[in-house]
Amino acid sequence: MPSAHRVALVLVDGIGDLALPSLGFRTPLEAARLPNLDALAAAGVNGLMDPVEPGLACGSDTAHLSLLGYNPRVYYRGRGAFESMGAGLPMAPGDIAFKSNFATVDEESGIVTSRRADRHFEALGPVLCAALDGCRLHAFPDYQVNVRYATEHRCGVVVRGPGLSGNISGTDPLKDNLPLRTVEGLDGTPEAEHTARVVNAVSDAFRAILRGHPINAQRVAEGKNPANVVLLRGCGIRIQVPSLAAQAGVVPCMVAPTKIIAGLGLSLGMDILEAPGATGDYRTQLTSKAAAIAAALAAPAAPLPRVQVPGVEGSQPSGQAAGYDFGFLHIKAVDDAGHDRAGGLKVALLEAVDAMVGQLAARLWAAQAAGGPRYTLLVTGDHSTPVDYGDHSHEPVPLTACALADFVARRGEARVVSVDMAPFPLPRAATVEQTTSAPASVEQEADVGDGPPSGDAVRTFSEVAAARGSLGRFPGSCLMTLVKQCIGETN
């Protein structure tokens, strides 16, 4: 049963940054106007978080594992399985998965002449995937192979059977006009060597099926490249871990259109909520994400969002009739702006996140004021993605945790309930001017609200301000302990 105290965690991918010369040596968080996030910081407790450990520039996968309480040094086995599950392929613990392309190989020389048989494969791809799905491996009868069409020339491949390892190479030569590769074990273990033999058998079996398929005969007759090979790369094994519910004693759900994050959540047994219009990129619909998490945390008073189930077409009804007590809302676009080295856009996107947090708070406050659960809001990130660097870095990220009631007291209930709940598009790079305004102004702080102070001494939400918080600088492995403290589960 979910608790009467519930937590919404907003995870802003790539939130942290550095002092940008283009922003007057402020970070994008310091330069942005963030009345809601500042009010959360002012009314709550704050700190700096190392996703795994100081000095490690984490990927989103290792960082998320750590934040959700799973030591990546123990459990991380590559991204392949996370991506495949996020794309809808069902996997059991111990299964391995690949990112895969339909490609063209010269049958005589073994040279891959085109790594993409055809970019427009939407009609034929599913037919060929159906032909490959469930193919038999005569030398390895204990192994099962499943194939699912993804997009364009891409498909997902999952292999299930005993003793598989994720530490193997792939068959993809990564460039055209190079030989198809033979899979090899990468760590010298018997498991990896055995897995390499199984996967080479998979590759051969696929080629045998595709070679004789009528679609390819027709393509050759039409002068087109045959799709006579499936290139296998990015192997990953589904990690075998206790579910987040079992490990942390919470009833968790997630909104994450980003495949690798959704797949990671599925690996931990989290329900992935449907949020119409949420895309995991610059086109995403943040309002929809807030609505889905708010509904899941307000249930049963609010109708539950539907959930995604790998291997099942379309969304399904949630099995958690009483709702959830831990809602994880992932936002990707801010990280994209860091990778795209777009400082002004990152500022504008953070302001959009702030607006979404206002909408989320309003929805949850409506539920709490109507006698529903008591809520706590957490906002943080999984790593820094400095725009002047263009990739992830090791700098810690800010974290704020605030009881919703304290946020409302600080911000003013009238402001909270009157927030515009209409969906809004994310700002676009072309329309965002580089922000070079003066340092954080008095009026910026004033519209945070004038309610009584609570929490620690921090008054704004940023990397530098968070250092003055009562939480100090702590490892991401502590995050779920904080969540459980808020929910009231301390076991």
């Binding site: 550095l18 002092a19 040596f25 970070t27 009314a43 709550g44 407790v45 700096l48 190392d50 795994v52 450990e53 100081p54 000095g55 490690l56 520039a57 984490c58 990927g59 989103s60 996968d61 290792t62 960082a63 040094r73 991380y76 991204r79 690798i260 008591r374 706590t376 002047d388 660097y389 263009g390 992830h392 090791h394 945790a401 605030c402 009881a403 009631a405 304290d406 007291a409 102070p453 609570s454 929490g455 620690d456 001494a457 990397e463 530098v464 250092a467 918080g469 009562s470 939480l471 100090g472 600088r473 702590f474 490892p475 492995s477 502590c478 302990t481 904080l482 459980k484 403290q485 009231g488």
Partner: protein, 370 residues
């Protein structure tokens, strides 16, 4: 970022004789470095009873370079190697082919740096103590350091500097970017009196134990060291003002640690003071009980996920990270211990993690995960 940064680490080892050492010395260039950078602290292990300054220096440098985790397994007999006989995995292997130079005022530290995989040299021939006259000319040294990093070309005057003779005779000092170093580490210890009972390598033959310095001598040596570091940074800034490419790539890091006497004389009492956090958290009607009371384990109290029990809670080394667009900027306005402990933007990390940060900045450490 157009090009990979290059790092210059300036380590004033044992320069802090107490918490107010920096207040009595005028160091405008170091103040500016702190004001325009991001500051923090490096947490170090508790010192063994009776430790000498020379032993403290080696123990703490091993932490700052994270050497303890990178001891090579050795000894065919299976017996534990003596402290002096240990070998380490080289920097080159640990950090994706990193190449780095190390200059030290201490013979034993120089030897340790060599074992760690640095190209190492003595900063000064004198082993009895430091004053301004014994240290290299700061302007020449600045120019040569940047030359080693491939960020400048040494002038005729600085190329003749004694301390660089060995390296300038090799490819490293040629100014050719393809042969330049990723990192230059300058280690300056005011109290260079070595202790023959303790922490020196067994093959050391060229510097006999020196008598302990008097308190006043030590104060003067510490002051001379800090003034020299200030002059060095001022010279670097001058070179930067002539060539914007230097500022665009130079990652300057200053580390200042406490002398053994400062740690051992007040360590116990200060730890009991430092234990309870002073952060005031206001009560609220709305917060869950566990939220306001939550005190997570701190990052500096762990290594690779394992909690450490031997970290001292006071006398952390002070650290300043400074680079144009490569660091955050905190509220610290001058290089004072009291400012850094209350206003730093980086707070405290375990000293063992410091070099990993630097390695990542110079492109010699990979991303962890996808």
């Amino acid at each position: 970022m157009a090009a990979t940064p290059r790092c210059l680490i300036l380590f004033g080892d044992g320069c802090l004789l107490n918490e107010t050492t920096l207040e009595s010395i005028d160091c405008p260039a170091l103040d500016q470095t702190a004001r325009e950078g991001c500051t923090g602290q490096l947490a170090l292990r508790k010192l063994p009873d009776g430790v000498t300054e020379a032993q403290r220096s080696l123990l703490e440098l091993e932490q700052i370079l994270d050497l303890e985790s990178n001891k090579e397994s050795g000894g065919s007999s299976g017996q534990a190697q003596s402290r002096e006989g240990r070998t380490f995995v080289s920097l080159n292997e640990r950090f994706m082919g990193m190449s780095a130079s190390f200059f030290s005022s201490s013979q034993s530290v120089k030897a340790l740096a060599s074992k760690a995989g640095f190209d190492s040299q003595l900063l000064t021939e004198n082993q009895g103590g430091l004053d301004a006259g014994m240290l290299p000319d700061a302007a020449s040294f600045a120019e040569q350091s940047l030359t080693l990093l491939g960020l400048a070309t040494a002038s005729e005057r600085s190329a003749g500097s004694n301390v660089f003779n060995e390296l300038t005779g090799s490819e490293r000092g040629s100014g050719d970017p393809a042969k330049s170093q990723d990192l230059v580490f300058v280690h300056l210890r005011p109290d260079v009196s070595e202790d023959s009972n303790g922490a020196q390598p067994s093959n050391r033959t060229d510097d006999a134990p020196s008598p302990s310095k008097s308190d006043q001598d030590l104060v003067e040596s510490a002051k001379a060291s800090l003034v020299w570091l200030d002059a060095l940074v001022a010279a670097i800034r001058k070179l930067e003002s002539r060539d914007s490419r230097i500022a665009a790539r130079l990652y300057l890091v200053l580390v200042l640690s406490y002398h053994a006497t400062a740690v051992t004389e007040s360590g116990t009492s200060r730890e009991s003071e430092a234990e309870p956090k002073s952060d005031k958290v206001l009560e609220s009607a709305g917060a869950p009980e566990g939220l306001l009371a939550f005190k997570p384990v701190q990052s500096y109290q762990q290594k690779e996920g394992q909690e450490l029990t031997n970290i001292r809670e006071s006398h952390h080394a002070l650290v300043v990270y400074n680079s144009h667009g490569l660091t955050r900027r905190d509220a610290v306005q001058s290089l004072q211990a009291s400012e850094i402990t209350t206003k730093s933007g980086n707070l405290t990390i375990l000293a063992d993690r410091f070099f990993h940060e630097v390695a990542f900045k110079v492109g010699r450490a990979p991303k962890y995960g996808a």
